[in-house]
Symmetry: C2
Subunit: 345 residues, 2 copies
């Protein structure tokens, strides 16, 4: 199998190279090819997703992404929208056809104290957020800014709703069998379609799943005040952007949050934390989320769940014994990665 790595900007290269070390150890037969994305790619090739990167994706089995984007003050932010680092990321999602973004939110036993929530609320939280990633207001072509007015269009079709809802139902079947679909159907027609189609699919093909529908504003409250009520959450792109970042604070460090984006082509795996330009190049970034993203890749794209389990267990152990600075510990990137490699045996 061939993996393309896209280290990107900021701490992306550091955490990606740690993740690659782990991947090589657990799956030595894999071919790895590195390519450019983001601000660095713009600087080198004038394009945040250069053609040679696009070409390399053609025969990849999976993609491991680092992080993209610069500091608030970066000149990249003043480029026209389609040349900014984030546009490289959006173009990558589109190029790979990744319509379902999976974000597990799990509070590791023994790490409850890291949560901003009271420990009794954080304990045992285990949510999977499935965010629609290629539709809605993000990609719709009906958008404009002109003079004193601007608009964007939030659009969905039944086919778009169904394909991501299937991923959520499938995931729930391996978990507790409960799906909460999130919308704003009391105000939006596009949510009315979403709710109708998710329910119809459940009634047609997933009768063993317990499905309920909640409003996005209410979920924003309940995910903080009662996170244990959720198993799988499925929602559209913009709501998913907000809710998945919100849920990501529960474990207490973004450094612990991997993600997988799945669709018709190769899967895309990435830590959800940003590029952290303030600590880039110092060798102190926490690579746990990038390494856990390798675990998700082994499980979802390479069908090697034994290897995935080995990685997950090793990360959990290393987190307890050699926590990084963001977790209140002292391990740097090197030390933590070595601890993971050792724990893999």
């Amino acid at each position: 199998p061939k993996i393309v790595t896209l280290p990107g900007d900021g701490i992306g290269p550091e955490v990606t190279s740690a993740a690659v070390e782990v991947l090589r150890e657990v799956a030595p037969d894999i071919t790895i090819e590195e390519h450019a994305i983001g601000g660095g790619a713009y600087d080198a090739y004038g394009d945040p997703l250069p053609q040679r990167t696009r070409d390399a994706l053609q025969d990849a089995d999976a993609v491991l992404l680092g992080t993209v984007g610069g500091a608030h003050t970066s000149p990249w932010n003043n480029l026209p929208r389609h040349l900014r680092p984030e546009s490289g990321l959006l173009a990558l999602r589109k190029a790979l056809g990744c319509y379902a973004n999976l974000r597990p939110v799990r509070v590791q036993p023994g790490l409850e104290h890291l949560s901003p929530l009271k420990p009794e609320l954080a304990r045992g939280v285990d949510i999977l957020i499935v965010r629609e990633l290629l539709g809605g207001i993000y990609f719709d072509g009906d958008r404009k800014i002109e003079g004193d007015t601007a608009y964007n269009t939030m659009r969905y079709t039944t086919a778009e709703v169904e394909r991501v809802a299937k991923v959520a139902f499938w995931a729930a079947e391996q978990r507790k069998g409960r799906v909460t679909s999130v919308d704003k159907a009391n105000v939006l027609e596009v949510s009315e379609l979403w709710r109708r189609d998710v329910q119809a699919l459940r009634d047609r093909e997933y009768r063993s799943i317990h499905l309920n529908h909640e409003y996005v504003d209410s979920v924003a409250m309940l995910i903080v005040s009662d996170p244990a009520r959720y198993d799988v959450i499925v929602t559209e792109n913009l709501f998913g952007d907000i809710l998945s970042d919100l849920a990501a604070v529960i474990p207490g460090s973004l450094g612990l949050m991997p993600s997988a984006s799945l669709g018709d082509g190769p899967g895309l795996f990435e830590p959800i934390h940003g590029s952290a330009p303030d600590i880039a190049g110092q060798g102190i970034a926490n690579p746990a989320a990038a390494i856990m993203s390798v675990g998700m890749m082994l499980r979802h794209s390479l069908q090697r769940s034994d290897a995935a389990n080995v990685v997950d267990r090793a990360v959990a152990l290393a987190l307890r014994e050699h926590p990084t600075r963001d977790l209140g510990g002292r391990a740097d990137t090197r030390t933590f990665t070595r601890a993971v490699l050792e724990a893999m045996g």
Copy 2:
């Protein structure tokens, strides 16, 4: 002055009548007229905002709203969208021209333990969220559901952005002078306009205000993990719906959250909690938010800040000495209201 009260559905009538008692006590010269809204208004008049209610708003100085809407299983939810209880609320906002929704989020000293956040994060939180209430994806006429596709349009004009931003800057001048404007300008053109216009207004007319811009997904994280960083937050309608509900969990009970909606006409004042049909009619609902909404009315619509201070202080005292059940105490609606009246002296 004339006040119109709209008790509405569920616990709305109970908490509104408690608030009216307090209002009569502190401002005996006020005329109060009660009218119908929501599901009850639909049942009685076939319209969630009946014409006779609309007529009464004409010469009102302010409106005190209870709550609207039924249980999940209520037949009201199966009505066509424009006849549902929520549509009465949206129509009311529009009829009053209330474009700025103000939601103070304050953790009362001594009540930190109610927060789902760790006490050290909750302590001293004092945020004012200013939500645009008449524009964006809520009201735009370019919306449709038809067959297998549906869409809504998020649109803003410079005039809409400026009028609500002015309210935020004005409020910040009475507070710590800091405004965070929230958008998704890395993806949406409508956010690009929002950001540009808020910044231009600041540079033109409010140079003493410290303004920064943050992305909505990032704010969803930071409001939980570091709420003390915020003073005034201003944002568009849909983001404001989500973020203001999210922030509302920090004090630990929705029963403590009043709101004011201001615009060109009479102000609209309401508790942010729902209609809680499960406890309606039992006399146990917490009326604190409705009474605090009277405080906001005295301050913002009636220019009686002395009376507003009297009400606020009395509520704070009653909360400490006679907490209601949602706060872990035993006071019912009656007992709590009497405690407020006594504390007012």
